[in-house]
């Protein structure tokens, strides 16, 4: 019985973190059709910034976390203005080829960030000073408070995002753009501003997800690739362009990994999720909730 609760609680925390990380990735794809392969690098940049603020500037955990989020935000906008927008607006590249160019360029950009981070702060894994410490007992399972904190913040941020998108005018414009960009233009809303808004929202998401990841698990510059791959996998599993699909997929992957770690062996942790992904691609090529 304890095992059941352990799996339930642990799976929930890690899945929430996956969900938050993948939400931003799904949002960007949904609205602007960009698969941002520098995703992992942006997250790591946020973690390392938060760590460095604590380690070198000796700011407290709250300020450190805030600095991490700000760096994630800034890095996201930089990615948009420096890499994505010039390619989207390029007249030299045929429309149908833009996708591969954006993929390649964001990939390169991600590797550049990774190299730069390793250069400045070595490739050692870093953890962000946690905001809450200690453990509490839930249903007989001793659970780190930080794990609960992570899950709560993830859901708070997702909830805020939901409110932002569903309850504010600017947010609705973003949501509308994900369904029909032309329709948004026809209603007098500048798409370019919608894109900036969405990359800004994405930046905050990446920043928060990164900092939480840094507190909960820790990352190194080597995590860039795996983080991008996991967000990509979750988003595709959920169905490209579907944020709710991404949320469900995050929990499927998170729980599958946790179940494997508990019931089979931690050595095979990621393998069932990968096999599931391949199976879904064969049976339901558009993902769980995919529309496109």
């Amino acid at each position: 019985m304890t095992l059941f609760w352990q799996i339930l609680i642990d799976g929930f925390a890690i899945s929430s973190l996956y969900a938050l990380g993948a939400t931003g990735f799904a949002l960007i794809f949904g609205v602007s059709g960009v698969l941002n392969l520098s995703h992992g690098a942006l997250m790591v940049a946020a973690v390392v910034a938060a760590w460095a603020a604590g380690d070198q500037l000796h700011v407290g955990p709250y300020a450190g976390a805030a600095i991490g989020v700000v760096i994630g935000f800034a890095a996201s906008l930089l990615t948009y203005f420096l890499i994505v927008r010039p390619l989207q607006q390029s007249s030299k590249i045929r429309e149908e080829e833009k996708e591969i160019f954006i993929l390649t360029a964001t990939l390169l950009w991600g590797i550049m960030l990774q190299e730069l981070i390793a250069y400045l702060y070595t490739n050692n894994a870093k953890t962000v000073a946690p905001i809450v410490e200690g453990v509490v007992s839930i249903a007989g399972v001793r659970t780190p408070s930080n794990e609960i904190f992570t899950a709560i913040v993830c859901w708070l941020v997702i909830a805020v995002l939901w409110l932002l998108v569903n309850r504010t005018r600017a947010g609705k414009a973003v949501l509308a753009a994900s369904m029909n960009p032309r329709g948004v233009t026809l209603l007098g809303i500048e798409l370019s501003q919608v894109y900036i808004a969405v990359w800004a929202m994405y930046g905050v998401l990446v920043g928060v997800a990164g900092v939480l990841l840094g507190m909960f698990l820790g990352v190194s510059s080597y995590s860039v690739g795996p983080l991008t791959a996991s967000a990509f996998a979750i988003v595709v599993l959920g169905g490209l362009g579907s944020v709710s699909g991404a949320l469900i997929a995050a929990y499927v992957v998170g729980y599958l990994e946790t179940l494997t770690a508990y019931l089979i062996s931690p050595a095979y942790r990621t393998i069932p999720a990968l096999l599931l992904l391949v199976a879904v691609m064969y049976v339901r090529p558009r993902g769980l909730l995919g529309r496109r």
């Binding site: 698969l35 996708e99 591969i100 950009w109 590797i111 791959a229 050595a267 992904l277 691609m281 064969y282």
Partner: protein
């Protein structure tokens, strides 16, 4: 007339290859070693370009094919020590089988979905290699007891002529009727079908050919290095380098991919004095090429008026 031009390009390339084949007379083993690796990478990138540039399939997993070839050859040599050519052939065949496996989803799903499937294929192979350490050597790599030769010059010539032959075959293929059909299938499968072409058959063939050369090159390179490891043959960063080589060399040119591969490897060596930052600079240069010169090196060098 056009076919004459293809012959002409091949003749020019042959001339360059012959000139370059005399390099062992004048340069050190180090330069030869560098170029040996660059030539194998050139083959990887050319094989990728056949799939992407002609069949229109974005394959994030070239290392799935390469790794399959390298590890099959290496494991076989480790276990039974058959003649080396047999190991290499087995590597190429295993890669072809891998290519067929990879092609199955490609015929069903497209674009990013296919891209992800290929990525997952790499991750699964990587996991397998790490988990099945008794057979594969695990994360520290597989030591391959036999070598083809330990002479720098001989290894260089093997890589050079292997690349030349692969390049000639792939290039001729891309300019051949089959290449034309492949390109038509990649660009517009509906129209190609309506012209009477079995798109599935041609795409499958492209996967098999790409896999064959990838696996062959992987197996040969493994014997050259006397070891195979995840970091040299399978890791996604290796795949990324191959893709970048092909893109900055010039997509859909086959031969451009070789330029890209040599550029990447030569640059990372020339920039060695920069130490830690050298990789950063190499990738920044590649990014500039992608942003400003979408046609790549080959595009820059062969740009004719029609695009102007």
């Amino acid at each position: 007339m056009r076919s004459a031009s293809t012959t002409r390009v091949l003749l020019i390339a042959l001339a360059v290859v012959i000139v370059v084949s005399f390099l062992p007379l004048g340069v050190s083993g180090y330069i030869l070693g560098l170029l040996t690796i660059a030539y194998y990478f050139g083959v990887f990138a050319m094989a990728w370009d056949l799939l992407f540039g002609f069949a229109g399939e974005v394959n994030f997993g070239p290392t799935f094919l390469i790794g399959t070839g390298a590890y099959t050859a290496g494991i076989l040599d480790n276990l039974y020590q058959p003649p080396i050519w047999l190991c290499v052939a087995a590597g190429a065949l295993a890669a072809v089988a891998g290519g067929v496996v990879l092609a199955l989803p490609a015929l069903r799903v497209r674009g990013p979905y296919f891209g992800l499937t290929t990525l997952v294929a790499v991750l699964i192979l990587q996991n397998y290699v790490v988990v099945d350490a008794p057979l594969t050597g695990g994360e520290i790599g597989l030591t391959i007891p036999d070598v083809i030769t330990i002479s720098d010059a001989a290894n260089y010539e093997i890589a050079l002529w292997f690349m030349a032959v692969s390049g000639a075959v792939l290039f001729a293929l891309s300019r051949s009727p089959v290449g034309l059909i492949l390109q038509a299938s990649g660009q517009d499968a509906v129209q190609a079908g309506a012209l009477g072409f079995n798109v599935t058959k041609h795409k499958l063939a492209a996967f098999i050919i790409s896999a064959f050369f990838s696996g062959l090159a992987g197996a040969l390179m493994a014997f050259y290095l006397s070891s195979a490891s995840v970091g040299t043959f399978i890791d996604i960063t290796v795949g990324v380098q191959i893709i970048i080589a092909a893109v900055i060399g010039g997509r859909r040119t086959i031969l451009g991919a070789v330029l890209g591969a040599i550029f990447l490897i030569a640059m990372s060596e020339l920039l060695r004095p920069l130490g830690d930052l050298s990789n950063f600079v190499v990738f920044a240069m590649a990014l500039v090429v992608v942003l400003l010169f979408p046609g790549g090196f080959f595009g820059l060098l062969t740009r004719s008026k029609e695009h102007g």
